[in-house]
Amino acid sequence: MKQLFVFIRKEFYHVFRDKRTLLIMFGLPIAQILLFGYAITSEVKNSHISISDNSRDANTEQLINKIKSSSYFIVDETSLSEQEIENTLKRGNVRCVLVFPPNFGNNLLHSGKAQIQIIADGSDPNTAKTLINYLTAIIADYQQEISPAAVLPYVIVPETRMLYNEEGNGSLNFIPGVMALILMIVCTALTAVAVVKEKELGTMEVLLVSPFKPIFVLISKAVPYLVLSLANFTLIVLLAVFVLNVEIKGSILLLFLVSTLFIITCLSFGLLISNVTSSQQTALLLSIMGMMIPTLIFTGFMFPIENMPWVFQVISNIVPSRWYFLIIKSVMLKGLGFAYIWKEVLVLIVMTLALLGVALKNFKIRLE
């Protein structure tokens, strides 16, 4: 135990004396937040929506059929009750709910004017806005179709509402993305490089000749990065709250706990990389290829996953940051509790254990 302490202290010396790494570590979140602060628009296809039809007349049926036949939407349910709307959106697979008020058709035909409500999941404001635009366009189209020529046209007034992010704050969606990305870079790449550096320098051999347990070498390497990553995470949260005015809806404690879990996932991956490489460059390259790029592509924070070809959708499941991204979004933006995210958490735990297991096993083999 005392040996472990000595070792961890040494690692902290290394980290704090490496000004360049520190700069990367803490400059990156700031740069990223500025960079991604600008909303990234994206196409949306085959989005799942649900409909709450409280009128059930010929007009609602026609409009629903029109939506169904468009390639943008898959209609999951048409008879959602008012009470179920929020829960449906919380579950996350439905991004948008269309509500027909009672007497929709009647109002339209008799007074020439009817209302319709679009409620979108605003935690992903880019997608939400796109969906709203598509729906409005379809509605306007339908309005044209049924309006008899010459006479006053029928008017359908869409009233839109975003749930979870009323102002459509674009920074909301990328904050969890930036979190995933930064933690990944710091934990995976820096840990991998820190271990490989000892191999390059030749000090690893001296460590392995000492009675110090190899597994402790890995633990000691990981601890400072765990601490720094948590500091980093705090910095991002603070930036999000005070600079970008993001409101954190859920439990901060839960947020930190799941982030710690994700950090450990990344550390394990970093350690695994360090086992299979012996130069710092390769380690860095592998971290970028193995973690950063998949994080950018497959988490869904830059490109909606449902737009991807199915192969990519399948691949996205094995990218840990995808699950972390979902968790953070649920906790931070939707204010959901553990009951809603335990499945994702479980996936991350299993992934972490698997990565850690392989990393430790390989490290022993290296001693050969």
Partner: protein, 247 residues
């Protein structure tokens, strides 16, 4: 009979079908300075790594400090010190931090560390450099410090892999004084080198050529047997037929 601290019997290490170490046999006695000579690529480092518990032999037998290299690597590690061919202190830690770190991971008590450290710094004349980064020291001092750190936990045997590579002759001389001092204190020294003048400082030497030990004796006996005036000449006669050489 003197106590044997290293026993090697037909020790072999193969990489694929290449014999890096080919059936070497020798014993090293307690308190001895044993020179392990050979040209670059002869297999010295490979053999030493096996004895240090860093890699497994392909065949043959060996024990270090009474422990088997196949099964008791952990026990071996508790009894040895090791200075690798590459410089192995941390350049971005201070002299003092390096000492504390290596003392610490070998489990030397904190109070004991600070006592020995003071003593060590004084002997090396590094009082002014205690809080300097090791990277800023001249090579000779680094090597002397690395050696001192390798024996800081007072191991029974210390393995030195080309400890004086690239160091100036004066510092080399001082380095060997430190080695003698350690040997006098009861530490067995196993040292590889390709400087033939250094061979003369050893109690006994083995000369390795292409993975095999071609000669093993005291420097005097070797010179006599090969009717040579210096170790350089002995070595030349033996190594003439060598196929392997890294340079």
């Amino acid at each position: 009979m003197e106590e044997k601290v290293i026993i090697c019997n037909d020790l072999t290490k193969q990489f694929g079908d290449f014999y890096a170490v080919n059936k070497i046999s020798f014993d090293v006695y307690k308190g001895e300075v044993f020179g392990f000579l050979g040209a670059n690529g002869a297999g010295k480092t490979t053999a030493m790594r096996i004895l240090c518990g860093l890699s497994y032999p392909t065949s043959g037998k060996a024990s270090v400090a009474g422990f088997d290299v196949y099964k008791q690597q952990e026990s071996i590690k508790k009894n040895i010190g090791y200075m690798s061919q590459k410089f192995s202190l941390y350049e971005n830690l201070t002299v003092s931090e390096n000492i504390e770190f290596f003392g610490g991971i070998y489990g030397v008590e904190r109070s004991e560390i600070s006592m020995r450290r003071t003593d060590l710094i004084e002997r090396l004349g590094l009082e002014k450099e205690v809080n300097k980064m090791v990277g800023e020291l001249p090579l000779g001092w680094k090597q002397k410090l690395a050696f001192s750190v390798a024996i800081f936990h007072q191991p029974r045997i210390v393995f030195l892999d080309e400890p004086t590579g690239g160091v100036d002759p004066v510092t080399r001389r001082q380095f060997w004084d430190m080695i003698y001092e350690a040997a006098a204190g009861g530490i067995t020294v196993f040292v590889t080198t390709h400087y033939m003048d250094e061979a003369e400082y050893c109690n006994r030497i083995s000369i390795m050529v292409d993975g095999r030990i071609e000669a093993l004796d005291t420097p005097e006996n070797l010179k006599k047997n090969y009717s040579a005036s210096s170790m350089d000449e002995v070595f030349y006669q033996l190594a003439r037929g060598a196929k392997r050489s890294d340079n």
